[in-house]
């Protein structure tokens, strides 16, 4: 039975992977960007766990910038995804412009918090 479960797990994984390959490239780029942001946040958390949280606001600003940009990227993905019926009328360029603007505002705030 164990062998079948592991084989099942492998089959499941392969099925997921082939289904994912079907997504359009721009969505894959956004996914990659999200993964990048999350990994950066994780590394920062591990560092804080190792050395303590003395300049706490630096830790917060680092982690929150990663998380914030990941969230904005997810929003962009939702708006750009053609299969998403709610945002059919929204042009992807408009979503991208929102994404850029929000990121700039986020990073301004993060920089201010990092400094102060």
């Amino acid at each position: 039975m164990a062998r079948s479960t592991s084989k099942d797990a492998q089959d499941l994984f392969r099925a997921l992977w082939s289904a994912y390959s079907a997504t359009p490239t721009n969505l894959k780029i956004i996914d990659l960007y999200v993964m990048y942001a999350v990994f950066t946040a994780l590394i920062q958390v591990v560092y804080m766990a190792m050395v303590g949280s003395f300049p706490f606001n630096s830790f917060l600003s680092g982690v929150l910038s990663c998380v914030g940009t990941a969230v904005l990227a997810v929003c962009l993905r939702i708006q750009v995804n053609k299969e998403n019926k709610e945002f059919k009328d929204l042009a992807p360029e408009r979503a991208f412009a929102d994404f850029v603007l929000c990121n700039l505002v986020l990073h301004l705030v993060i920089m201010n918090f990092l400094v102060g």
Partner: protein, 500 residues
């Protein structure tokens, strides 16, 4: 008649309006005389003296003024010292000058009649006589301003000690007159005179019988005399006794004239006994004014005890059992000092006797004795205090630099992973507009974003929020305009592609 009544008036003035004090001086006070200006007793008395002498100058016959009153006036003027006021000084010297000389002499039927007597003053150059120096008792007799007295003999009627007023140690001795110095001298004090405070009673006897009318001598004059001498301290014994039995544990004799000291030890169950004897030069027992024993601990706490006496022997017994609390339970080394002093003792001393190692029980913690504060040296009280070094808040522990740098590089790894992934996905710039205007906008769009990010880096490095916000606003406006252009161009291009 008028002269007689004035004479009568003068005697009444002197009888009724004169003040006396205990030391035999006579003076007039302003309360009785009255007058327009405020007159002190010096000016009042000198006014009276001036008036009396002026009156005597114009009258004939004797004025019945008793000699002791004249002497009292003289003593008053001599006894006030040097007045601070120039007017008072003048009054004093003028009155003394009037009392000094014998101007009021009238020859009447071959007899000298003096209207006002001349006071004679008896004084002693020193009132302290030392038995060890074998001083001589010297007495001077002069008029008020120091002129020579007529020939007379000073008699020492009697001398008695202040403690034994009834018995006289000297009686009826005549003093010899020394021509060279002008003093009357008593050469040798008899052996009965020991150290102490005495009162000598003198009397002046004039050689000339008529002199009694001319001079006022004042009868018997009492003079306090201090007779000092060396007091012998002997038979000093220090002992440490066991408490109940009274048996002697250590006993040492001490020569208090020399410099030797003793070293003793005792515990709280024992007693300390110290005794000595004091003898006067004539061999009698001596009671000094002060006889104290002081025990001083190494921590500078001291305790003083009075040494009592029984007859000739002075003895003090310290029972340490009762003194444990008084000594604040402080064990250790105590320095012992003895002090014996008196005004008539020429060799009063403060002598360290030695040390006592005292072993006292521990202080009970429930009732810990609060030691009183020691006397502070007044010169150090307001001196500079100890310097306080401020301890700043210790900075937080920071991780080692290498670790931080390692994690910095680790943080950049996901970025590399992202770029690699982008390449693997086949990212290209095919949709980049080729025609001029859109291309410019595209480039400007990208440059605008890069500029904002660079601005943020500058903000982190050195700018403040306000300049950053200002610049961000400007760049943002620019970026909005450019971005709108390029993105709308892209949107129309893709819409055209979709429709086509």
């Amino acid at each position: 008649m008028a002269l007689l009544s004035i004479t009568f008036f003068v005697t009444i003035v002197f009888d009724e309006c004169i003040n006396t004090s205990d030391d035999g001086t006579f003076y007039f006070d302003e309360k009785l005389v009255g007058g327009h200006e405020h007159q002190g007793s010096i000016s009042t008395t000198s006014s009276v003296v001036r008036g009396v002498f002026a009156f005597a100058a114009v009258t004939s016959g004797k004025i019945n003024l008793p000699g002791d009153k004249i002497l009292g006036l003289a003593k008053f003027f001599l006894g006030i010292g040097i007045p601070g006021d120039a007017k008072d000084l003048f009054n004093q010297i003028e009155s003394l000058a009037l009392l000094e000389s014998n101007r009021q002499v009238v020859f009447q039927e071959q007899h000298i009649v003096v209207k006002i007597s001349i006071p004679l003053i008896l004084s002693l150059p020193a009132s302290v006589y030392s038995l060890s120096n074998k001083d001589q008792l010297k007495v001077r007799v002069n008029t008020v301003l120091g002129s020579a007295a007529p020939p007379l003999t000073v008699k020492l009627v009697r001398a008695f000690s202040t403690v034994a007023k009834d018995s006289a140690v000297i009686q009826n001795k005549d003093l010899k007159y020394d021509q060279n110095s002008g003093h009357h001298v008593l050469d040798v004090l008899p052996d009965k005179v020991d150290v102490g405070i005495y009162v000598f009673v003198f009397e002046m006897v004039l050689h000339d019988a008529d002199g009694e009318k001319v001079y006022a001598t004042g009868g018997q004059i009492h003079v306090p005399i201090y007779v000092t001498g060396i007091v012998k301290v002997s038979n000093a014994e220090i002992a440490v006794l066991d408490n109940d039995l009274g048996s002697i544990e250590t006993q040492k004799t001490l020569d208090l004239a020399g410099n030797d000291i003793v070293s003793l030890s005792a515990n709280h169950l024992q007693k300390f006994r110290f005794s000595f004897q004091l003898t006067t030069p004539r061999g009698h027992a001596f009671m000094p004014h002060q006889a104290f024993l002081k025990l001083k601990h190494e921590t500078k706490y001291e305790h003083i005890f009075v040494v009592g006496n029984a007859g000739k022997k002075f003895e003090i017994v310290l029972d340490f059992l009762g003194l444990v609390e008084k000594f604040y339970y402080l064990s250790g080394r105590y320095d012992i000092e003895l002090t014996v002093g008196d005004a008539v003792m020429e060799n009063s001393f403060l002598r360290p006797l030695g040390h006592l190692e005292l072993d006292l029980p521990e202080a009970p913690t429930s009732k810990a004795p609060r030691l009183p504060p020691l006397a502070v040296d007044p010169y150090t009280r307001y001196g500079p205090k100890a310097e306080i070094t401020h301890l700043f808040r210790t900075p937080e522990k920071r991780p080692p630099t290498q670790l931080s740098l390692i994690f910095l590089s680790l943080t950049l790894l996901p970025l590399i992973g992202f770029l690699v992934g982008l390449l693997r996905l086949g990212v290209n710039l095919r949709n980049f507009p080729s025609s001029a205007a859109p291309a410019t906008y595209a480039i400007l769009f990208h440059l605008g974003i890069a500029a904002v990010l660079v601005l943020y880096v500058l903000f982190w490095l050195k700018l403040d929020l306000f300049t950053t916000l200002k610049t961000t606003a400007l760049l943002g406006v620019f970026l909005l305009f450019v971005g709108h252009r390029i993105l709308s161009h892209l949107a129309t291009a893709s819409a055209k592609l979709k429709s086509a």
